[in-house]
Each structure stands twice: as C-alpha cells, then as structure tokens.
C-alpha cells in the first residue's frame, strides 16, 4: 500500500491576490497559470501599468495562450519559449529589481517551485512570493540515492531514469531543490513493487 501523506514541507499556496502596496508587480506564469494572472489583472489597468510579466508557453495545445495577454498594457511583457528561458529572463529582472517589488508565480507546482527557488538566490524570501498552482499535477522529484532529478513525475512509484530503481514519491519537499524526494520502494523486499498510482494532488 502506498501512503502519500501531507507533509508540512510541501508549500501550500492559495489564490493570487494583488498586493496593493507593491510599486512593481513582477509576475511569472507558465501555461495554465495564465488563467490566474488574468483573474487578478483583467480589471486592474493601473496595476498592469506597473507589472512586468514573464510568460512561458511550454505546451503545444492549439492557440497560444499568450494571445490573451498581449495588448493589455503591461509595463513590460517577456514571452519565453521554455521554462529555462523564462528563468533566465527572471534573473535579469530580479538583478535590476528595486524596493517595493512583489513577486507572483502561477502555473504548475513544479513551475511555482522553480520560480521561488530561483528568486531565493536573489534574497527574495520564499514566503513573500504570492503563488497559485494551476494545471499539471506532475512533480519534480529527486532520487535520494543517485540524485537524478525527474522533471515530470505523475505516478508513484516511478522508475528513476538515473539508477533504474522504483521510487516512492514522498510528500517531503525541498524549496532549495524545488523537488520532492524519491526513495526506493522495495529496498527492504527487493522486487516487491506495488502498482503505480496516479499522483492526484
């Protein structure tokens, strides 16, 4: 039986909400995260004029979502073709950021984690980031044995691409690595591997 428990190290995030005191809204979104951005910025033209938007479209699902973002009067809009390109843009923006900047992140849990971890390198307190999870439930998981990081794990146990062992996905989450922890599931009884279950939350 697989126990997928809720641990305190897994960040919970609610819904995006505008910080009225922010001088600059620095917004990072990926794929379905767009919906959360539109929810708070659509009726807020004043906020949009002080918002720097970074958006990565990684899926290939018909019309690009960025169509709904352009022409909304952002202070700056940086579309990116991949998450890593967005994070590189984010480095540049954070490097030049001034007091009063509030960071927002919207997208999959894996994306939100990556933004928070990246910003922490610039002294942004992780708890200060306003974040909302939208879209894929896939998780980024680090194998505790060989340290390989699998980017989009959707089931537990999964086969580690690094060492080939079957890993249980623990809810234990490292903000620094922006990853969950994978531990060999049959270490005590080799070969005793239960069927994989979908990660549903």
């Amino acid at each position: 039986m697989i126990e997928i428990s809720q641990f305190d190290s897994r960040p919970t995030c609610g819904r995006l909400a505008l910080d009225p005191r922010a001088r600059t809204h620095l917004v990072a979104a990926e794929d379905e995260g767009v919906g959360a951005i539109l929810d708070i910025f659509t009726g807020a033209s004043d906020a949009r004029s002080r918002a720097i938007l970074l958006y990565a479209e990684t899926g290939d699902r018909g019309a690009p979502r960025s169509d709904s973002l352009v022409g909304l009067g952002w202070a700056a809009f940086h579309p990116a073709a991949s998450r890593s390109a967005l994070l590189a843009d984010l480095d540049g923006v954070l490097d030049a950021a001034t007091m009063g900047t509030r960071l927002y992140a919207a997208g999959s849990e894996s994306f939100v984690g990556a933004v928070i971890a990246r910003a922490a390198g610039f002294g942004v307190v992780p708890q200060s980031v306003i974040a909302e999870k939208r879209g894929s439930l896939a998780r980024r998981v680090q194998c505790v044995h060989c340290k390989h990081v699998a980017e989009a794990v959707t089931v537990s146990p999964y086969r580690c691409p690094g060492c080939g062992q079957s890993l249980l996905v623990r809810d234990h989450f490292s903000r620094r690595l922006s990853a969950f922890q994978g531990v060999r599931i049959d270490a005590e009884m080799p070969g005793d591997i239960p069927p994989a279950q979908e990660l549903t939350r």
């Binding site: 190290s9 044995h145 809810d171 060999r184 270490a187």
Partner: protein, 346 residues
C-alpha cells in the same frame, strides 16, 4: 582520562561492540516503562563522572573507529557535508567550541594553544598537528566545519536564526537515522521535521522551536532520542537505504541478540557567540540486545517499551519488520518485576 580506542567497524564485518564500561555508561533513554514524544529538553549540565553527560562533548572508546567510518562515507558521498556560504562565521564558532571543549576535558588526547588568531591544535589519537589562523579558511586543509567535525564524534548541524525560525544551513551528517542533509539543507525547523508523525499535532515542534529561539549563550541544552538499527551500522542514510534496507528482513529469533541494536541520540544544542547560530549535535550510541540485557532493569523496561510503542511510531522508526521477533526475544528477560524510576541501572 586516558581512553583506549577500539579498532572496529560499522559496516561489512561489523566488529563494533561495547566494553563493559561502555555498556554501563550507555545513555539509556527510557525513564518509564512506556514511551511517547515529549519536549524532553533539559539543561546540558555536567553529569555524573564517566557518564556521557560528564563533559559537553563526549569522546569515548569508539572515537577513532567512528572518525574512520566518517572518512569512508565522505569519500563515497561528499554531499554529506555541506554549508551555505553565509554560515562561515558559524563554522568558525564551531571550531572554537569543539576544540576548546575537547582540549579542556581530554588533555591527554587533545591540545589547543591560542595566541590571538594563531592557533595550534594537536589531536593525538588521529595523529594531527595543525597550526592555523583562526578566521582564515585558507590555513586549514578543509573548510572549518568539515575540518573539526572530521575529528569529533557525532553528526553536526548549524542552524541559522532569522524570521522567527531556525534554518538548517550547514551540516556534517554521516551517521544519520534516515534523513538527508542534501535534501533538507536550507529548510526551516517545521519543514525538516515534517515527516515525523504525531508530534506536530501534540504541539511538540512549536514548543521546541520557541524554546530554542531563546537559547542563550553558555547555557546549552540536550535531549535524548532513540531508534533501532539492524547491525551496528552508523550510516543508515536514505542515500544508502537501497543498500541497508534489506537488513531489516534478516532478523530471526536466533540472531536478535547480536543483530538488533538500540540506537540512542544524545542531541545537544549550543548558542554560538559570533554568528548567533545554534549548533545541533547528534551523538549516536548503539548497544546490541545481548549487551542491553546484561542490565536487568533495562532488559525489563525495553521489553515493555518496545512491546507497547504505538504503531505509527514503530512504522516511522522502521521497526515494524522485526519488532515482534525482538519483543519475543526480550520477553525472556522480563519477569514482570517492577522497575525503579529513572534511567540508571539498579
């Protein structure tokens, strides 16, 4: 006090054992016949002579062998020792704390001479004679925390204090009971304790954190924690769980006495003077069931504790596969007689 250091191993052929004296001074952690979590923190005051609490840093007969095992672990996996850059002041604080304490209480084995920042450290058991400049990392062969913790028994974590929390931002963790520094580094107190069952709902972590945030210089504190290990293996890390996990299925009624070990952690915490960080030391002591039952009170009591420990706790501590076999074995040493209060042998 002159110690005789044993030649023994914590892997492969597992030649580790305790002398009669080491059994006698074992920090048995149960003061009653039952166990549940509590905020069991007390002042780290000097304890009885020859006990593990006599001095702030306890060095014993396993010192040289444990340091050899640490070197083997680090060779295979250097990630067991990590430190975030802002912890460098705390690392030097730790050098001072450990060298001062070891030299003061074990002068036959360790010697420290200070002349301003020019320090001279002699470690006789490990054959080390080192002159260095305190505060200048380039004058040591390893970064300061790694340098001194390669020479001191126990795992060490350095906790930074900010935002009303403690952050595990440094550590030398080579003999751990199934947690990963490489994964946990950078976490706060609540985050790294997240996998522990039951205790959170009891408010244990909230109270312990509040207590530690107010820890004062010169007033260290300690607590005991326990788990069990099959074979006297120090490195029960999650990194190597794929190698040692199956040991848990090897316990039989015939080998309980040799294979099953009670593992006690003496956890001590100090506030550091320059960095305001906290040292969290986790000093592990192991005792086989054969050794444990040479003390009749401990045999009776441990039988009762292990028999009655709650299921979630047994599962978390990884005891489930061999608990029944061990309890049945221990039952032969429990005649039902009452046990006296407190930890000590009768």
């Amino acid at each position: 006090m002159t110690l005789h250091f044993k030649k023994e191993s914590f892997r492969d052929d597992f030649t580790f054992s305790n002398s009669r004296e080491a059994i006698r001074r074992f920090p048995f952690p149960f003061e009653k016949d039952e166990y549940m979590y509590s905020v069991n923190i007390e002042q780290h005051m000097p304890g009885p002579a020859k006990s593990p609490f006599e001095f702030p840093i306890d060095i014993d007969e396993h010192y040289v062998a444990e340091m050899h095992d640490r070197a083997l672990v680090l060779k295979e996996d250097p990630g067991r020792c990590q430190s975030l850059p802002h912890m460098i002041t705390a690392e030097w604080d730790l050098v001072e704390l450990l060298m001062e304490s070891m030299a003061k209480h074990y002068p036959e084995h360790f010697q420290l001479t200070r002349d301003g920042d020019a320090w001279h450290w002699i470690n006789r058991p490990l054959g080390i004679d080192q002159r260095f400049t305190f505060g200048d990392t380039a004058t040591l062969p390893h970064p300061p925390m790694e340098y001194i913790t390669r020479q001191c028994q126990g795992d060490f974590a350095l906790l930074d204090q900010r935002l009303g929390n403690l952050w595990m931002d440094s550590g030398m963790i080579t003999g751990q009971a199934d947690w990963s520094l490489d994964f946990d580094i950078g976490m706060n107190f609540m985050e790294w304790h997240a996998p522990v069952p039951l205790a959170k709902d009891m408010g244990v972590f909230e109270r312990a954190l509040k207590f530690l945030l107010n820890l004062q210089q010169g007033r260290p504190v300690r607590r005991l924690n326990w788990t069990m290990t099959i074979n006297p293996r120090l490195d029960t890390s999650p990194e190597n769980y794929d190698k040692w996990g199956r040991d848990r299925t090897t316990v039989t009624p015939e080998n309980v006495g040799d294979k099953v070990h009670l593992r006690v952690e003496l956890q001590a915490m100090w506030r550091l003077p320059r960095s305001n960080a906290i040292v969290f030391s986790i000093r592990a002591y192991m005792i086989s069931m054969n050794e444990l039952v040479t003390v009749p009170k401990w045999a009776r009591r441990f039988h009762r504790v292990l028999r009655d420990v709650r299921g979630e706790l047994a599962e978390y501590k990884g005891l489930s596969r061999y608990r029944d076999t061990t309890v049945a074995w221990l039952a032969r040493y429990d005649d039902g007689a009452p046990t006296s209060p407190g930890f000590a042998p009768d």
